[in-house]
């Protein structure tokens, strides 16, 4: 099925087209969300929300970018929104444990282990993910898209709606910050 056929099917509410879309993009969406959120259950939840969003707003997709770029953009936006909401909850953890969220306390995350990391690098990768977690949003996004999802500068620039040189600059700053934080580790 070509991208045009897929889009035609999605716009006409065909279930087979939706299934094809999910099959084609589920790994990329999940891997990106996992890199940004560093939590398996949350990443699956966000990946599901991404496909629901795609299904609901496919009529608004103007084809000014590739379908994959649009889906990556939704994934990044939803993941960052989720991270912000998590930070807010952590900030007001005491109140939310009293009044909301089923009285569930907000737990500190354990060390994250990406399932695709080579066995001998697992310990180092866990430390790296811990410091990635402290990067500013845009640097973190660029770094994850480049190192975890292995996207090119051009693809990242399209997703973040910026230029390739801006992506290069973001990645340089991300690497500098990571080195700085590693030298101060544990914070």
């Amino acid at each position: 099925m070509t991208e045009q056929e897929l889009l035609f099917g999605l716009r006409h509410g065909e279930e087979s087209a939706f299934k094809e879309l999910v099959t084609r993009f589920q790994d990329r969406v999940f891997n990106t969300a996992l890199g940004l959120l560093q939590h398996h259950v949350e990443a699956e939840d966000i990946a599901q929300e991404v496909f629901i969003q795609v299904f609901r707003s496919i009529q608004n997709f103007k084809e000014e970018s590739l379908l994959s770029t649009w889906i990556y953009r939704i994934t990044v936006t939803k993941s960052l929104d989720h991270l912000r909401s998590k930070k807010r909850k952590k900030r007001f953890g005491f109140l939310s444990s009293l009044f909301g969220d089923n009285n569930m306390p907000v737990y500190e995350p354990e060390d994250f282990n990406h399932p695709g990391v080579l066995q001998e690098k697992k310990e180092d990768a866990a430390i790296l993910f811990k410091v990635i977690d402290q990067l500013p949003e845009n640097q973190r996004t660029a770094f994850v898209l480049n190192k975890v999802e292995e996207l090119s500068y051009r693809e990242i620039a399209a997703i973040l709606n910026t230029t390739e040189s801006a992506v290069d600059s973001l990645l340089q700053r991300a690497k500098q910050n990571l080195r700085k934080k590693l030298n101060e580790f544990p914070p």
Binding site: F30, N31, K147, L182
Partner: protein, 106 residues
């Protein structure tokens, strides 16, 4: 303060994502996704049962009732001339509404 990691270790950590295999979505991802989409569609059909809708309808009903009660209380009392001591019979009712027309046979 002494650095915890040597420069060599920092370099090793920085390169630890080299050769990373992308994570695959969990098994039955599509089935779970369809399951998540289903309740959202069902909820739409039962909007009448949503608390917000029920509260709004009951509030409107209550406001209309209060307004009616206030209006009735404020209405002027019936003039004395309209009141009557006569018992309510069919004849008095017909007379009050000018319904006692003569028969065509009279």
């Amino acid at each position: 303060m002494q650095n915890k990691f040597s420069e060599q270790r920092v370099q090793s950590i920085m390169e630890s994502l080299g050769g990373l295999q992308p994570a695959a979505a969990p098994d039955f991802f599509y089935t779970r996704l369809k399951g998540k989409m289903q309740p959202a569609a069902e909820k739409k059909t039962f909007f009448i049962l949503r608390p917000a809708f029920i509260t709004a309808v009951l509030s409107i009903f209550l406001i209309v009732n209060i307004f009616s009660l206030i209006s009735i209380r404020k209405a002027p009392a019936e003039p004395v001339s309209m009141q009557s001591n006569k018992p309510a019979t069919i004849e008095t009712f017909a007379a009050a509404y000018n319904m006692n027309t003569g028969s065509v046979y009279e």
